[in-house]
Symmetry: none
Subunit: 328 residues, 2 copies
Amino acid sequence: MYTIKQAAVRTGLSVAVIRVWERRYGVVHPARTAAGYRLYDDEAIQRLAAMQQLVADGWAPSQAAQRLLEPGIDLAALPNRQSVNPRPMPSLSRPTDRFGSEPSLTSGSGLGERDLSLVADLVSAARELDVPGMERILDECFAAQRFELAIEGIVSPALRAIGSSWAEGTIDVAAEHAASETIRRRLARFFDAAGVGDRVPSVIVGLPPGGYHEIGAFAFAVAGRRAGLDVLYLGANVPAESWVRTVNETRAGVVILGVVAPADVDSAAEVIDALRLIDRPPVVLIGGPFAADAPDAMDALRLPAALDAAVAVVVEILDSTRRPTSAA
Amino acid sequence: MYTIKQAAVRTGLSVAVIRVWERRYGVVHPARTAAGYRLYDDEAIQRLAAMQQLVADGWAPSQAAQRLLEPGIDLAALPNRQSVNPRPMPSLSRPTDRFGSEPSLTSGSGLGERDLSLVADLVSAARELDVPGMERILDECFAAQRFELAIEGIVSPALRAIGSSWAEGTIDVAAEHAASETIRRRLARFFDAAGVGDRVPSVIVGLPPGGYHEIGAFAFAVAGRRAGLDVLYLGANVPAESWVRTVNETRAGVVILGVVAPADVDSAAEVIDALRLIDRPPVVLIGGPFAADAPDAMDALRLPAALDAAVAVVVEILDSTRRPTSAA
DNA sequence: CAGGGCTTGTCAAGGCTTTGTTCAGTGATA
DNA sequence: TATCACTGAACAAAGCCTTGACAAGCCCTG
């Protein structure tokens, strides 16, 4: 049994609102202690959350309450709104040209001497669990060149080298983890530094259900932000329904799925199918090492492997959908 | 059998609170010496810890006590289960209710209005996928107080509330992910800012094999660093052999395992067993919501729930092992 | 387009309750 | 002797309760 304050925290409502909803609409009838304190059970919390959801969906509170008070209402069915307000929008003209489908995040060719030695340094620092050393090397990488180039030229190759060493058993899992963590932290720094304003996200980046290796997707999210895009980063393993709900709520125009493992191809397809059914479907792009494995039939564009190019593609798509003049 | 002082040290409660909880709620009935001194057994300590956990989770003390006094309560099963643990379960869109269900705030001793409203704000920003909003709230949190306090007072309760909202289906997985990501990024910032020198790590923090929810462990790593410890953070899902290898290579004196889900208890045990066989075995500590579930036989100390206290314990252990006067 | 009425979130006043802490005085322990 | 414990009482701060009022927003009507 929760006190009213806990109920407030859990629902995000204010204490006053909870009380007034009870007083005016009787949406909940919390038990009382001997001293008269309200005590909410789980069902009460759920009712409040449902009411809140209805109100957020545009129902007048009185109406929402009336709906909730109908007998035999299925509480569990309510709070998850699927499609929200069907706001009419300019037709989405989808660019049809295919972008080159490169193998992977990074080319892997044309690295300079210096870059190569930095990659090697990074790998050996990782192998020795030398996090401060890695930090120093990363400092050097990012000091010498733009984020995007450092990622493609050094960090990403190093990660790949570490990954395959791990597969061969020549590097320990712990070292691989520590390296990923360190790099992830560095990316987070850039993500924060690139902070854009308060606008509603127009691009959503994440991995399909079951997808777990998110560093590439995160790097892309950072690059997008740096280019001024309003990126919402969801991270690993996002179920299809969540993609749908998120797109519906944010009305984002572009969705980017990381396809980082063989299994991600199918789960990405599942997400794409689900997203196609939305009334205003977003443009879906896939990127990552296994994006090339996606069947051509799949209704998604493939991102170029190079970060800069990939970001450019997204920018262009957003531009063209924003002014619905003519695309492609 | 412990005196009240020892019980206080063990639980992190104050002596006065232990007495008053006994008097007012009857949560424990310690045996007495002939002279009337209280003597607590392990079960009593566990009850106190459970009560403390419930209160930290936001239950009003009276409610927490009532739960503890229900007949047939399983002590070991209690203090956990707020499960920030979104085990995706992709097909079932959402477990209907009938889940335990925990509240969320950390009252401890007097969470201000302000903190509580920040928790609520954080939760509702998360619910609305409003990452910039979350960032703003986090700014406020960390501006107003020390990192450790902000984590315990606001961030951690908010995460817990979001986790259980997820379990109830009143918040979307995507929102939960976006929130975790945002908080994780924030922690990374502090991790970087606390950068210690180049010394070899003396403390290794990570999750046992199969363990996935790392935010708590990461927060501890940050706190440790801030306290000047040389922490190596390994992250989630580290196999036992890797733990062994890492300890052997770094000769770290302390290993900290996050026990964040029921399954982590067993896998932590596995790691501990493996570490015991090293020629110079480290001190192993376990922390996290399910650490209390670990059998007493387990060869590991339990960290106090409070960040500051936990760090203090580690510092003390390092001090005492560095000058090998006497070991516990 | 103005004005009246209704809806709805917020706030304040005044008064209990809950809860962690403190104090005084006394006895036990090492 | 200094520290630790015990009891009971007393507090202060924070929670919570109810009632009533109010301002902003919305809708309808004239």
